[in-house]
Symmetry: C2
Subunit: 123 residues, 2 copies
DNA sequence: CAGTATCCAATCAGATACTG
DNA sequence: CAGTATCTGATTGGATACTG
């Protein structure tokens, strides 16, 4: 079984490298929600990213984990409990996402683009 | 012919919206190079993004243009000349890309990840 | 020079059903 | 609860050849 994460290809440059780590359909939102709530369980993440399937959620979480941006903590209980949170490296990206979010809000207003959810990308 | 740009889908939230505009394999580098050089012709962009095909370059440039991040200026000369540059909205993104680039550089050092090009993602 | 057109391969993503 | 497995469809990306 081949290793399947973002590291696979040698990045062209630092911009390329960084965009690979945070690119992808759900990574921004995932990191943002984890920032807002500090700790979230698998099911909670699933309910916050309403348009994600379990397959994509697991896949994306694994990539973020491999890339050292989030931490996965398993509690060996019945029923099982798994908690996700940002690592220190992941937290370094928060200001960036925060600014980008504000930029997005402003742009959506100016261009009159509707969005599905209201407020701060709430859970 | 269907309109084919990033607006097609209603964004879930502002984070989702912003990540769609700058996501994609080449957008970050394209914006970054245009920031560094102010004005670049099609062929120059093609030579800076060494791994891009003409198809993808045109496609990505059109998306950035539709999304109001870059401007395309055609000179009706022979041979033809087309110049690309950042719009005011596009320039708003430069600080983020700059930070992200620095973050990427730091991470690549700490994780000992090699990169193909050296320096400031130079042309 | 600045692209298009066409065809094909690879990757991404979704639906659905199932498991420790 | 927190995932996996499988199959299929959609989207993205690439090679190559050609054009105003």
């Amino acid at each position: 079984m081949a290793i399947k994460n973002t590291e696979e290809q040698v990045p062209i440059c630092a911009v390329d490298f960084a965009f690979r780590r945070i690119g992808g359909k759900y990574k921004g939102r995932l990191l943002w929600y984890l920032h807002l709530h500090k700790v979230l369980r698998y099911g909670e993440l699933r309910r916050s990213i309403t348009d994600i399937t379990p397959k994509m959620l697991t896949q994306t979480l694994r990539e973020l984990e491999d890339d050292l941006l989030i931490e996965r903590k398993v509690y060996h209980e019945v029923p099982p409990r798994v908690e996700y949170s940002l690592t220190e490296v992941g937290k370094e990206l928060v200001p960036f996402i925060e600014h980008l979010r504000m930029w997005g809000e402003q742009r959506m207003k100016k261009e009159n683009i509707p969005m599905i959810q209201q407020g701060k990308c709430a859970l």
